[in-house]
C-alpha cells in the first residue's frame, strides 16, 4: 500500500478509538495482575473481548471505509466471533476452578445442593 492519506476529520476519531481500545486492553492486562482471586481474574479478559475488540475493530472499519471510499463491514465478523467463542473458554476455566475448589472443600465457593450430585462427583 502506498502512503496513507487519512484526512484529519477521520484521523481524530480513529486515533481516539484506537487509544481507548488499546487502553482497555492494557487495563485488562493490569487487572489480571492486580486482582486477587482466580474468579476475579476471569473478568479481566472479558474486558479485552468486549471493550478493546469492539473499539479497535470500529477504528479499523472507519479507517478503511475512508481510505477506500466505501462501506467496510467485515470487521463485524471479528467482533461476532470473539463474542460467540469467549464464553466457551471462560466457562471451561470457571468450571474447572469451581470443581477444584469444591473437591478441596473450600468454604468460599457456593456448593451444590444436597442430593444433587454433579456428573463429576458420580464418576468418583
Amino acid at each position: 500500500m502506498t502512503v496513507l492519506d487519512l484526512p484529519a476529520w477521520a484521523a481524530i476519531p480513529v486515533c481516539l478509538l484506537l487509544l481507548l481500545g488499546a487502553g482497555n486492553a492494557l487495563a485488562g492486562a493490569i487487572g489480571l495482575l492486580r486482582l486477587k482471586s482466580f474468579y476475579a481474574r476471569l473478568h479481566a479478559p472479558s474486558l479485552m473481548v468486549s471493550g478493546a475488540t469492539i473499539l479497535i475493530c470500529l477504528a479499523s472499519m472507519l479507517t478503511f471505509a475512508v481510505l477506500q471510499n466505501r462501506w467496510v463491514f467485515h470487521e463485524l465478523a471479528i467482533i461476532a466471533f470473539m463474542i460467540i467463542t469467549t464464553p466457551v473458554t471462560l466457562m471451561l476455566l470457571g468450571q474447572a476452578a469451581l470443581y477444584r475448589d469444591r473437591a478441596e472443600g473450600s468454604q468460599e465457593v457456593p456448593h451444590k445442593e444436597e442430593g444433587l450430585k454433579t456428573e463429576a462427583a458420580v464418576e468418583e
Binding site: G31, H43, A44, L47, H74, A77, I83, P87, M91, L116
Partner: protein
Amino acid sequence: MRYWFPFPFLSLGLLLFWVLISQSVSPGTLVLGGALSIALAWAMVNLGPHKSVPGRVRPLFRLAGAVLVDVVRSNIAVLRVMLGRRGKPATSGFLTVDLTLQDENAIALLACILTATPGTAWLEFDRTTRQLTLHILDTADGMDWQHIIKTRYERPLTEIFQ
C-alpha cells in the same frame, strides 16, 4: 424444500458471511457461497442441534439496546475497579440465579451477553436445578444483578424464543 434447506437461517447467515469476507457480490462469489452454505447446513443435520425459531423481533431490538448500554456501562465500572486504588479491593462474590428460560439457544445467547459485559462471569449452569452460578466482580456498587438478569435479559429472551 425442507430437504434442500434443513436450516434456512443458518444457510442465509453463512452466505451473508461469505459475501462479507470476500467483499464482493459477483455471481461467482454468490454461486460458491450458496453451494457452501447449503452443503454446510447438511453437515449440521448430523450434529442434530436444538432448533429454535425466534418468534418476535421487537424484544430483540430492545434486548440489543439494553446489552449495548450495559456493555459500555460495565466496561467503565470494571475499568474503575481494576485501576482503582491499591488499598481498596473490590468485594466480589458469587451469585446464583434460578433461570426460568427453557430454550437452550436462548441460554447460550444469555451466556454470550453475560460474558460480553465485564463484571459478570458465567461459571456454571445446572440443567437439573436450572440454577446459574455467576461471579460478580464488584458487589458493592449497588446493582441488583439478580433483578437485572431477570428483567433486562431473561424476560426479552423468553419473549423472543417462546
